[in-house]
Each structure stands twice: as C-alpha cells, then as structure tokens.
Amino acid sequence: MTSNTSTDLRQAAEGHRPSAASRGVYEYVVLSAAGLFAIISLYFVGSIVWQALPAIRHQGLYLLTGTSWVSGGATPALSKFGGLSMITGTIETSLIAIVIAVVVGTGTSLAINLLLPSWMRTIAATTVELLAAIPSVVYGVWGMLVLAPLVISTVGPFLNSLPGGNAVFGTVVAGQSLLLAGFVLAIMVLPTYVAISREVIGAVPHELIEASLSLGATRWQTIWKTILPTGRVGLLGAGALALGRALGETVAVVLVIGQVNQLNFRPLQPGVTLASWIASQWGEAIGSDQMNALFALGALLMAASLGVSFISTRLVSRQRSLVNR
C-alpha cells in the first residue's frame, strides 16, 4: 500500500474521494479482517449447534428435562442424556453469585465514587480490577484447598446449627457445594460488575446529587432516591454482564462444586453446572454420542450466555446514551 502513496496523496489532494471501486489495499485489509472475524463468529455458533444436532435429534426434550446421564456405549439407542441437573445447577450457582456480587459490588462502587477519599479510590479500584487478573483455575485451587475445608469445619456446621438449618441449607457433605461454587463465582464476576457499575454511578450528573443533598436528603437518601434510580438501567446491564460470566465459568466450578449429577436445591449440597459437566465428562465422551450430548449442553450454554451478553451490552449502552443526553 505504500508503493502508491504518492498517487494516493495526489488523488486526495485533488479531492478525489475513495469510492468502493477505488478503495485502497488498506481499506480491503481492514475490512477483510473484520469480515474474517464475522465468519469465525458465525462458524463458532454453527459448529457447536451442528455437533449438538445428533443429540437433539435422539434425546429431544429429554436433554432439558431428564436427570439420567447414561451412555449406551456401543448401542447409542440405550443412551440417556438428561441435562436438567446441569441446568438447575447453573442457575443456582449463578444466582448465588449474582446476589453476592450485586450487593457487594454496588456497595463497593458507591464507596469508591462517594465515600472514599480520592487517594484511596485508585487503590480500591485497582484492587477490584486485580481480582479479574487472577486466573480461574487459581480460584478453583484456592476454593478446593482452602475454602472447602472451611465449609466442612466452620461454615457448614454453623449453617446447620441454625434453626431449620438442615432443611434450608442441606447437610454439609464434602465442602464442595453449590454454595461454595456460587461464592467463588461471586468473587470472579465482582470485577466485571464493579467496572460497569462504577462507571454508571460515576456518570450520574453532579447537579442531581448536589440538588438532592441541598434539599436536605441524607447521603443514603441521595443514593437510594437519586443515584440508583438514575443508574438502574446500567446497573441492570452490569448485573447481566456478570451473570453471563458466571454462567459459563468452568474450571473453578469443576473443583468446588462436587460434580454430583443430582437435582439438588439446597446450598450445602453438591451439584453440577453445564460448563463443568462438559469439562469433566469430555475425556470419555470423545467420538461417541455422549460428545454430541455435551455439545448440546454447550449449545444451550451458548444460547444463554450470548443472549445475556447481548442484553447486557444493550442495557449498558442505553444507560450511556441516557446519561449523555
């Protein structure tokens, strides 16, 4: 593209606008990179769905409603692949994670934007960002080797000792549980949530806050009645973005959830998620109908997380345009 520079310059000087016909190599290179990514993205979606189709055809609705996961081996007709436990486990752990992350994250963002002295803001913000720099497998190892024993020795017995503790939380088993998985996930998605919510809260116009305070509202009233309502669309988007992250997290969950294919609803019971089940069953599934079933779980996960991701991006950009208006 540099060989033609002089011509290009002359053309530009003459006020010649590059039409589609006379687009330079530069434009084509840039456009083809963009096109390649679009193709890769489509191929990504397509190939996962394609590999999922045989399982969808054979298992049908059982993929969504069944709780057995039995490979028929050489006779695929006997195979039963039900994903209900994985679906519920994914929802449960993500919900636990999101509740913790939203409560703690909103508080953190408020503190960073409104409470902390300015020199501490950067430190606090960096601290939360650094949480995102720790690889997932490290959280898994930490959860498995440090937190799980704590659940057995302290947290579990405490929750069980509460009135009705066994009925609500379930009996503590091996430490690895839905609760632990949700907790670890919460830490992992916290930086995502805080990054957006901090921006959202920071973008609330100062005049609004000052007006509220000058009318005699306390700091909390200003937060509750002015800041949060102004930022609710963006905060929802931040929550959705964090939810998307939580849905698809894999290795950390494998190590802390207990990998039990059961329909469990109590936080101290073990469970399984879509992503963690794919990872743990992959080895023996390769080349069999079980692999297609795992792809089907993957397709489900893809639909859920891409959907959530899409919605969250829309929400966040809507918030940005709301504030900028």
């Binding site: 990179a33 963009a34 601290t127 939360v128 720790i134 440090v146 937060i223 891409l306």
Partner: protein, 304 residues
C-alpha cells in the same frame, strides 16, 4: 392568643417530628454508609487472602531447585514428594500463547481499526457481535477448537488447537481495545492529516495508528497475559504431555492445565505444587499488566 398557642403547638409538633425523622434518616444513612464500607472490605478480602496463600505456599515451591527447569514427575509410594518441575508446562504455555498471538493480534487489531473508522451498517453489526463474543464462555472455545482443529483439520490434540481456542477468545478483546485506543486519539489529529491533503488511509496509517499505538500495544499485552491463565479453552484439546514440546502439531502441557491436573491428585505434594504454578501465573500477569500500564502512562506523558 389561642391561635398563637395552637400555632406554637403545631410548630413544636412539626419540629419534633422532623427531628425524629432527621435522626432516623441520619441513623439509616450511617448504617448504610457502614454497609458500603463493609462491601468494599469484603471485595478486598479475597484478593488479600489469595495472594497471602500464593506467597505463603507458593514461594517454598518455586525456590525448590529445578522447579522451572525440570520435567514433572509422578510421586509414587516410594517417593511421595517427587513432583519434579514445570519446564514442559512453561514452554507449552509460551508456545500456545505465541501461536495464538500470531493469529489473533493481526486480525484483532485490523478489525479494531475497522470498527473505529467505519460507520457502515456492517460495522455497527460487527460491534454488537464483538461485544457479544466477549461474553462467550471460554469452555465453548475448547469445543470450537476441537471441532475445527482436531476434527475438521485432522491435526489432533495439539498446541495449535489450544492456540486456536485462545485466539478466538481474545480476538474480540483485542478488537475492542484497539477500537478504544483509536477513538481516544483526538479527532484533530485526523482532521489535520486530511486537511494537509493526505488520503484517509494514509492519515490512519501515518498519524492515527502511531498515536494510538501505546493504547493498542498495552491492550494486546493485557489481553494476552490474561489469556495465559485460561484453562478451559485448552483443557479439551491440548492433549497433555510430560515432554517439552513447541511444535504446533505436538501435544503439550500448559501451566493452568498442569495446575488443574495436579490439584486433583491424591498426593499432597502434587497438590501443593499447584501453589507454585499459581504464583508464577499470577505473578506474571500482575507484573506484565503493571509494566504495561506504567509504560503506557509514561508514553502518554512524553507525548503530551
């Protein structure tokens, strides 16, 4: 007179009420502010706790002689502490990320340029696709890499399959980082270039891209340093090997992969080894991100 008394009563009553609500409001506000403080403390605790464990348990592992230079060993009942080192995983991780970068960086950056400069419908569609793909679960990249590289290209379980998964994972991140870096270049730069009679492409290449290069490069470094720690995209396709391997077609190990394997061992020595690997991974990511930020900040200062 009665009127005044009434008036005073009412005023007194109102005053009392407002004092009460004010007190209640102040009280609630105080409690809620305290809760915000609690939240930020809670957010900081995991980081401190993880780093504490990494240092306490990780340092004794990495100072062990041969940790970086020897191959891993399996402990046996005769030698329960025989864990060896991580040389293969170190080489494997480097190889995986280098091949991934070779693929992802050019496409990601060029695509970012397109996103920043184009106003076409395709660009806005691509922006949505990119934002959505950023949120795609990493395990799906493993499935995708298996389907494309292992099955369709018949390469088998290999470094390049892992690289492919990581590349697809970081592509949208790289594109977004590039787009932001370019958009951060003041529009006057571009206008000045065009006013001087340069073609838009020349303006981009000679003026805007150099001005954005700091942001682009630090974006690349940050994205790749995070990718080194990713396990899920490579877990399904890298194959795992005790040998040092860097050829794209070879199966290999990688640091996060080896952590995932070792922590599930029944030998405490091997489980303990994971703290060392974790320290290396986290240390590398922290140092690289810190250095990249510092460099970017300094470059910015110089430019101003």
């Amino acid at each position: 007179m009665t009127v005044t008394i009434k008036d005073a009563e009412i005023r007194e009553h109102l005053r009392e009420r407002s004092v009460a609500t004010l007190r209640r409001r102040t009280y609630i506000s105080g409690v809620m502010t305290a809760l915000c403080w609690l939240a930020i403390t809670f957010a900081a605790v995991p980081l401190v706790a993880v780093i504490y464990q990494l240092l306490r348990r990780g340092i004794p592992v990495i100072v062990k002689s041969g940790f970086f230079t020897t191959l891993p060993q399996q402990p046996t009942i005769f030698d329960a502490n025989n864990t060896g080192g991580v040389s293969n995983a170190l080489v494997g991780s480097l190889a995986v990320i280098v091949y991934a970068a070779l693929f992802a960086v050019p496409i990601g950056v060029l695509m970012g340029v397109y996103l920043a400069e184009s106003t076409s419908k395709f660009a806005s569609l691509l922006r949505i696709i990119t934002a959505t793909m950023v949120g795609a679960p990493s395990i799906l990249m493993g499935l995708f890499a298996f389907e494309v590289v292992v099955q369709q290209m018949h390469v088998g379980f290999s470094i390049i399959a892992g690289s492919f998964g990581l590349a697809v994972l970081v592509l949208p991140v790289l594109a977004t980082a590039t787009e932001i870096a370019i958009r951060n270049v003041p529009s006057t730069y571009r206008e000045a270039g065009l006013a001087l009679g340069a073609k838009p492409s020349t303006t981009s290449l000679k003026i805007v891209l150099p001005a954005a290069s700091t942001g682009i490069v630090s974006g690349i470094i940050l994205a790749l340093s995070r990718a080194v720690g990713e396990t899920a995209p490579i877990l399904l396709v890298i194959g795992g090997a005790y040998a040092i391997a860097w050829h794209p077609n070879q199966a290999a190990s990688a640091l996060p992969f080896q952590m995932f394997q070792d922590v599930q061992s029944n030998y405490p020595s091997l489980q303990n080894e994971t703290w060392g690997i974790a320290l290396v991974l986290v240390g590398a990511v922290f140092i690289i991100s810190f250095a990249a930020r510092l460099w970017a900040a300094r470059k910015k200062k110089v430019q101003r």
